[in-house]
Amino acid sequence: MNEAKSNFTSRRILLASPYIVWVAGFTILPLIIIIHYAFTDAGGAFTFSNLGLIFSPIHLKAVMFSLEIAISSTVACILLSYPMVMAMRHLGLGKRTFSLFILILPMWMNFILRILAWQMILSNNGILNMILSWFSIAPLKIANTGTSIMIGVVYDYLPYMMLPIYTAIMDINEDLIEAARDLGAGSLTIFLKIILPLSLPGLLSGIVMVFVPSMTSFVISDILGGGKLQLIGNVIEQEFTTANNWHAGSGLSVALMIFVLISMAFTTKEHKEGRESVIW
């Protein structure tokens, strides 16, 4: 920022006042309230037990399953995204709004309906197995398994991984690629030594945007897990809806938040300054 601030600049800060009020009212205050719930019992007394619920065997099992789904889905999203973005770059689809359009358009079909469509595709007598039977391939039994939840999660969050990686890779100047080739680098080396490191900020945003929601989703696991497989999101949701224990639900939420913050601290530590805007 500039040293000598003009009169205008200091007055410009005032423009942010409505937003600052908003942040105080709708970001900070709700957090304070949920933390308050998390550390009190029904009688209003201070307690750690709500937070500790996360370590009870049944909840720990949901946490572990959530981690499994989140990690495998995030990795799958990464593995699907890079070839996609590289292919788009290779075919020169980079600068065109058209390619973004292709990635964003599916969001205009309601998200729950899209997941229900996957249920129709993946169910035991569903579309996928019907197609497989045409080729005389034995039907797959993936309905109501972790695999089918993972497919739904990957499907739903793939654009959130692809878009930031796309932005980061399209920002890489073709000159750098040429310079690397000039110095003797082949395609694989260029990817590993130039493109991958330079797309890291985008990759990190992608991980943040996929990992957290995939761990906490409860609709996808509801529909594709057949109601038997519980993610931590399902557990929290039930505390609020069926069990009606808001303190326990808040405790689990805060525990989840702490966990997310810790894992984010690890991934975003590498973030270089001045690149806050990589996400979109």
Binding site: S6, Y19, A87
Partner: protein
């Protein structure tokens, strides 16, 4: 060699496109399926489209969804754009703090954001359309700020100050200097906010009161009983309409690029 790479690239993009659009195709087909059962094909029909326009519940949810998306995106722009301009003028430390606070709703799990807002609302205001609107504005503003901030960083804000210095009023300077520069960022922020709000389920689910339904919450409620086929018809209509609008939009912007 290059040809080979072209072909592989094309096939891969095709594969991802199939993955992204297969469920959408399924839903569109369902909207013409005369059988109420989702797994059997009972023949082609347009009756769900006809019934849709007599189903007041669904139409009401649709109107709520659109009003919510439009209202929350518009208010998010009104708060977020001046917010971004103000934050940009702050010193390094305050700038970083504000951006970190802006990131909280994006980093936090939707379920946590939804629950936290709900706990807040039940203490002070009734859960209603208003509370959902407030919640949507809250998660939309960060997207607006993050869309507009790069444009602000790119442009020379001192141009605005120079314009003021030359005697232009703040209103004139805003509309003639700032707005044209920021417009692409504002539009993409609005579009992003609108899309996310239309597609949101989790936050709406926790912050809505009884009687308020968006398309998402209505569909969620129908899962156990079976989705009303009119819903497929409506979703297909929305999807086709948006596809057309966006195609025209990108067509125009692609022409401009050339």
């Amino acid at each position: 060699m290059k040809r080979f790479k072209d072909i592989i690239s094309g096939i891969y993009i095709g594969f991802i496109a199939v993955l992204l659009y297969a469920p959408i195709l399924v839903l569109i087909v369902e909207s013409f399926n005369s059988s109420r059962s989702r797994v059997t094909w009972g023949g082609f029909t347009l009756s769900w489209y006809v019934k849709l326009f007599n189903n007041n519940q669904i139409l009401e949810a649709f109107i709520t969804t659109v009003l919510l998306a439009f209202g929350s995106a518009a208010i998010a722009i009104l708060i977020g754009v001046p917010g971004a301009l103000g934050i940009h003028a702050m010193g390094r430390k305050r700038y970083k703090t504000m951006m970190a606070l802006t990131n909280i709703p994006m980093l936090n799990a939707d379920i946590v954001t939804g629950i936290a807002l709900m706990l807040w609302f039940v203490h002070f205001i009734p859960l209603s359309f208003g509370s959902v609107l407030l919640a949507h504005i809250s998660f939309n503003i960060p997207y607006v700020i993050l869309s507009v901030m790069p444009r602000i960083q790119q442009m020379n804000v001192s141009i605005y100050e120079a314009t003021r210095d030359l005697g232009a009023g703040p209103v004139y300077a805003f509309f003639h200097v700032l707005l044209p520069e920021l417009l692409p960022g504002i539009l993409s922020g609005f579009f992003m906010a609108f899309t996310l709000s239309m597609d949101d389920f989790v936050i709406t689910y926790f912050t809505k009161g009884a009687g308020v339904n968006t398309l998402s919450t209505m569909i969620y409620g129908q899962i156990k009983k079976g989705i009303k086929p009119e819903m497929y018809a409506l979703s297909t209509l929305i999807f086709v309409l948006v596809s057309l609008l966006l195609s025209i939009g990108t067509g125009i912007s692609a022409k401009k690029e050339h």
